[in-house]
């Protein structure tokens, strides 16, 4: 089946901020995710990069139906996830899992690590010996089977993250959303966990949605990359095109801002400095949302929102004056 394992079409997610000014309630709407579309093929990794306010984390939560979407279609293995009952969705959850960013907060401090890993099996009512499965999973992620009896506080951050990964694997999912899975880890530990993701993908044919702000890690692990800004995808395409020939000014600025651990290259390369901060998602700029910080912005950018268009190098980007 050549159908993508995950297909997201025109996803919109708005949050309501209730501000009570006196008796009249003024509702402010945060457009966290606007008209986002992408697909993930089986066994592939889609990297989603962006800074704060980009909406990338919200996208991850929406895909897993941990948040109700405002509009759009999310299809998993061809099946539309909208309107499914709690039970139907529960069946699908077996194949779609998530690993969180914070290794401290993602495990219940009162439960043993083994119980946390076994929880998916318990909730889904899976038969068989859970202990055996837990031991197998611990070993798969590079921990020892007898760690199951220990509590989260006895482990380091990197180890806890591995426990989180083991838990995500418990139900043998086909797709895992990785939400900044290595950001909170020490640099020397990140490499091991990143390798683990690669190995699992090779061995088990896992598909990933890898959400991160660290462009160098995404470059290593992703096949395709989507760049998000203020709720919109500004550029999407295969890794090589994006990193070697970025066409959107924001992508260029982002790549330029990431410090490279090599003093000679770092000090000699020209840098694009963006002015100002990311605008608030409550009141996004009209037209192109990036225009307030873009050095190329013109009136056209303010009046007309650019659409995603195919570029000669293969990727799509949304800009009136692409590089």
């Amino acid at each position: 089946m050549n159908q993508p394992i995950l297909k997201v079409e025109n996803l919109n997610k708005n949050f309501e901020l209730r501000a009570n000014s006196g008796i009249r309630k003024t509702k402010r709407i945060v457009q966290a995710v606007s008209d986002v579309s992408f697909s993930v093929d089986r066994g592939q990794t889609l990297g989603i990069v962006g800074e704060s306010g980009s909406g990338k984390t919200t996208v991850g939560r929406c895909v897993l139906q941990l948040l109700d979407i405002t509009s759009g279609t999310i299809s998993f293995e061809g099946k539309n996830l909208a309107g499914l009952s709690f039970e139907e969705m529960r069946q699908i959850r077996r194949k779609m899992q998530i690993v969180f960013q914070d290794p401290f907060a993602s495990l219940d401090p009162k439960m043993t690590v083994g119980s946390s890993i076994a929880e998916p099996l318990v909730v889904q009512g899976v038969d068989g010996d859970h202990n055996e499965k837990v031991a197998h999973l611990l070993e798969l992620v590079g921990l020892a089977a007898d760690h199951a009896k220990r509590f989260p506080h006895e482990f380091s951050g990197g180890q806890r993250q591995r426990v989180g990964i083991a838990r995500a694997l418990a139900l043998d999912p086909a797709l895992i959303v990785l939400d900044e899975p290595v950001s909170a880890l020490d640099v020397s530990i990140q490499a091991g966990v990143v390798n683990l993701f690669g190995d699992l993908q090779e061995r088990l044919g896992m598909s990933y949605v890898f959400i991160a702000h660290d462009l160098s890690v995404v470059r290593h692990i992703a096949d395709r990359v989507a760049v998000m800004y203020l709720g919109k995808i500004v550029e999407i395409g295969d890794k090589k095109s994006i990193y070697d020939h970025p066409t959107h000014p924001y992508t260029k600025a982002l790549l330029s801002a990431v410090p490279v651990p090599n003093p000679t290259t770092e000090r000699s390369r020209s840098r694009i400095m963006l002015q100002g901060d990311v605008p608030s998602p409550v009141n996004p700029p009209t037209g192109c949302r990036f225009r307030t910080r873009c050095w190329k912005a013109t009136e056209l950018c303010a009046s007309t929102e650019p659409q995603l268009v195919v570029r000669p190098t293969g990727q799509l980007s949304a800009c009136h004056f692409p590089e």
Binding site: H213, A257, R267, L274
Partner: protein
Amino acid sequence: MMSELVLSIRDLRVTFDTPLGPLEAVRGVDIDVHAGEMMGVVGESGSGKSVTFLAAMGLLPHRAKITGSVLLNGQEMIGAPNKVLRNMRGGLMSMIFQDPLSALNPVHRVGDQIVEMLQAHQSQLSDKDAAKRAVELLDIVGIPQAAERAHQYPHEFSGGMRQRVVIAIAIANNPKVLIADEPTTALDVTVQAQILEVIERVQKTFGTAVVLITHDLGVIARVADRVNVMYAGRNVEKGGVDSLFDHPSHPYTRGLLASLPHEGAERLTPITGFPPNMLMPPPGCGFAPRCSFANDGCLTSLPALRSFGDLETACLRAEQIVIDGARP
């Protein structure tokens, strides 16, 4: 060749008493900071990099046991009376931290907070002059419309802008040393670039020495002049930034550089093992349990920092590693 020494830390040791026993966070650290230079201090969890400078600033709780010497402009800070320490903080030496929101008082206007810092150390400044200077400082750190924004409250600023305000407060009295503890870690990468630029600009304009504490080697490569690598509460390597990145001598530094994602790498090369538990630090070299070059001597004797070419290293086997042709 080297300009004068402004901050000199010698054999600093910091131990905390915890319910689980004594925790040796810093175990004999030597650091020299010269006027006007950008010193990068690199380390991960348990390295003691933050605790070292909190101790230098006198910001650790009283129950922390601190020994050693911290000379700031020739004056000893360890054990100094409170009056001396208060004069030092914000005057000769300032520190900024990772989270700008908790560093700023939410109920005071931003301009007032700078004025407060100015008048604490320059009591002769009139309110009017101090307010004027506050606006100038906001301008120096790149806050647009500084005169109006001085009247705003911290929550009206974005993360990057807040960090600029924090920097303005820290440099208000033209300190000799500015210690920046992970100042950009909590910021977006495009904002990080801006803040690093501000710090560099401040350094060049005022001749302030900056100690930049971070775990991000890219940041070090971008702005640092000299680098100090810390592991398990000690220095493991020191040197100029170009030399360190080009031919690192200590296995930890090598391992760190090798584990970063780089082009064309199929698999990354992690450093095996885990950061040390500082409640029970290894008897010998702190890195030995994870080191692929370690021998028995490494596990038992604590190596001191020594010269090695144009670097200083705390590895007993540095020469042997080079001879064996280990790739950096």
